[in-house]
Symmetry: C2
Subunit: 306 residues, 2 copies
C-alpha cells in the first residue's frame, strides 16, 4: 500500500452518472490504493468491468465495503436507507460513509440509524451532473470547478470531515460545509424547483390541444429546448428528490408561484415597467455566475459550435 | 446589378443580434446586390460601419428604404408601428416589408395601416437567437437549421411569400407558413412562457431571505444556471413580447400554473408514481428535439467542452 494515498480502499455503491464519474476521476489522482465498484444490477457491473473504471466490480454490497476506508453511496435518494441497512453490519471501524444525494436531511434520517459505532457518517453533495444516466455517461472532469457541499451531523469527527473535503478538492471541486436543513433549502431554489418547473412546462406543452407536438419540437429553439434538457434527467432520481425534500420544495414553490401570479397580473394590466425592471435585474445574476466560473460565457452555452 | 441575386437592395432596420446576423449571413450568399443597414442609434451605426457588415449604414430610415426591394424590420415588437409609420411613405411599389418579431398578430395590426398600395407586408419570425444583444453579438450561422415562420396576411401576394421563403432558406433556415394568431399561440408555449418562468425563478431566487445571493450563484450548476441564460435576454425585447402577445401568454400561463399546482399536490401527498410518469414522458420530447436537429445531443449542451 502506498503511504501517500488519502484512502486505502474507496468503495462506490451505485455506478451511474455520478458513481462512474468518481471512478473515472480517481484514475487521474492518487487518492485511493484501490477502487471497488458495487451495484445491485448485474448488467451495470458487467459494463463497469468492460469499461475498466474500477479495480473490482461486484453486485455484493457487503463484500464491497468490508475493507473500505471510504464508502460513497451514489444511488437515488430513496434507496439510501436500504443501502445503509445492507452495508451497516459490514463496515469496519473508522470507515467514512458518505453519499452524493441531492437532499441531505432525509439521507441523515435514513442512514444514521444503520451506522455502527466508530463509523463516520458524513453526507455530501457534489453539485454537478448532466441529463444523461448510467455508467457510460460519466466523465472525469464532471466535478472540476463545481462545489461539493458537505453536511456533517452533530458529533461528526472533524478529521474525517477534513479528509472527505480533501477527497473532493482533489477531484477538482471546491467544498463548503453546511447544515443539512440549510442545504435542502438552498438546493430547493438552485436545483429542485428549477427541475420541477422544467418538467412541468414540457408536460404542459405536450398536453396543449391547440398546438401539435410536432410544432412544439420544430420551434423549440425559441427557449423551450433548454427546459427539455433538464426535463430529460433521470426520472427515478428526481422522483425521489421531490419526495425526500418535500418541505423545502413546497416552500420555494409557493414563492415561485406567488411571484409568477404577480408577473401574470403585470402582463394583464400592461405594466411594462415592472417587467422591464425584473428582466434587467436578472441579467446581473447571470453575470455573477459567469464571473464565478459556474457557467460558460459563450452565447447559447456554446451549443453546437465546437 | 447581377441578374442572379434574389433582391436588388435589402434594407435591415435595427442592427442588433438578429439584424447583424442577417447582415453577416448575407455576405456568404448571393441574395442581394446591396445591403443597407439602418438604425436610429448613431452609436450602432458607427459600430456597423467599423464591422463592415453592410454596404451602407445610416440613421436615416427614410433614405434607407427608398431603393429597397426587401425591408426587414429587426426592432423590438413595440417599435414596429413607429418604424412602419416612418418608412411607409418612402417605400417603392413592389417592395416586400417583413420583420423578425416574436409576436405576429400585434405586428400586423401595427404595421398594416402604414403600408402604401403595391407594397407587400409579409411578417416573419426566424426562431433563433442567443441571450446576447447588439451588433457585435450576431453571427452568420445563427439561422442554420432553425425554422423561420412566415405569416402572410389576407391578400398577401403568393409570389412575394415564395420569394421571402427562398430568402430565409438561402440563409440556412427551414420555412413554414402559418396564420399570425396560430403563430402567437405556438410561440407562447415554445418561447414566451419559457422565458417568463426563467425570469421569474431568477427573481424568486434573488428575493429569498433565507438563501444568500452568493449561495444561489455558487450552487447554480444544480440546474438554476440554465434559467439564468434565458433570463439574461434583452429586457426591452422581452417586455414588448409579453405586452404584445398578452392573450396567448395568459392562456398558456394559466395551463402551466394549473399543471404546476397539480405537481405540487403530488409532492405534498407523496404521489411518486405521478411524478415518475411525467418525468418519463418528458424525456421522449427531448429525444425528438435532438432527432430533428433542434438541439445538440451533447450532455449539458456540450457546455465548456470544446
Amino acid at each position: 500500500m502506498s503511504t501517500e494515498a488519502l484512502f486505502g480502499q474507496v468503495t462506490l455503491i451505485g455506478i451511474g452518472l455520478i458513481g462512474s464519474s468518481i471512478a473515472r476521476a480517481l484514475k487521474g489522482v492518487k487518492l485511493a490504493d484501490r477502487v471497488v465498484a458495487a451495484d445491485l444490477s448485474p448488467g451495470v457491473i458487467a459494463r463497469v468491468t468492460e469499461l475498466g473504471i474500477a479495480d473490482e466490480a461486484t453486485t455484493d454490497l457487503a463484500a464491497a465495503v468490508r475493507q473500505a476506508d471510504l464508502v460513497i453511496c451514489c444511488v437515488p435518494v430513496g434507496a439510501m436507507g436500504l443501502v445503509a441497512e445492507v452495508i451497516g453490519p459490514h463496515l469496519k471501524p473508522g470507515c467514512i460513509v458518505s453519499d452524493v444525494g441531492s437532499t441531505k436531511g432525509s439521507i441523515v434520517a435514513q442512514m444514521a440509524p444503520h451506522m455502527p459505532a466508530g463509523v463516520h457518517l458524513i453526507p455530501a453533495h457534489p453539485v454537478a451532473g448532466t441529463e444523461h444516466s448510467g455508467p457510460d455517461s460519466g466523465f472525469a472532469a464532471l466535478f472540476q470547478d463545481r462545489w461539493c457541499i458537505i453536511t456533517p451531523v452533530p458529533g461528526s469527527d472533524q478529521a474525517a470531515v477534513d479528509k472527505l473535503a480533501a477527497f473532493w478538492q482533489a477531484l477538482g471541486s471546491k467544498t463548503e460545509v453546511m447544515a443539512p436543513d440549510h442545504h435542502d433549502l438552498v438546493l430547493a431554489i438552485t436545483s429542485h424547483v428549477p427541475h420541477l418547473i422544467a418538467y412541468n412546462i414540457v408536460g404542459t406543452a405536450s398536453d396543449l390541444e391547440q398546438v401539435t407536438e410536432s410544432e412544439v419540437i420544430k420551434f423549440s429553439a425559441g427557449g423551450f429546448r433548454d427546459f427539455t434538457r433538464i426535463a430529460a434527467s433521470d426520472p427515478t432520481m428526481w422522483r425521489d428528490v421531490f419526495l425526500h425534500n418535500k418541505e423545502a420544495v413546497l416552500e420555494v414553490l409557493g414563492r415561485f408561484t406567488e411571484d409568477l401570479i404577480a408577473l401574470q397580473r403585470n402582463i394583464r394590466w400592461g405594466q411594462g415597467d415592472q417587467l422591464f425592471d425584473l428582466f434587467t435585474r436578472t441579467r446581473a445574476i447571470r453575470r455573477s455566475i459567469i464571473d464565478q466560473r459556474q457557467d460558460t460565457a459563450d452565447p447559447d452555452f456554446g451549443r453546437g459550435r465546437k
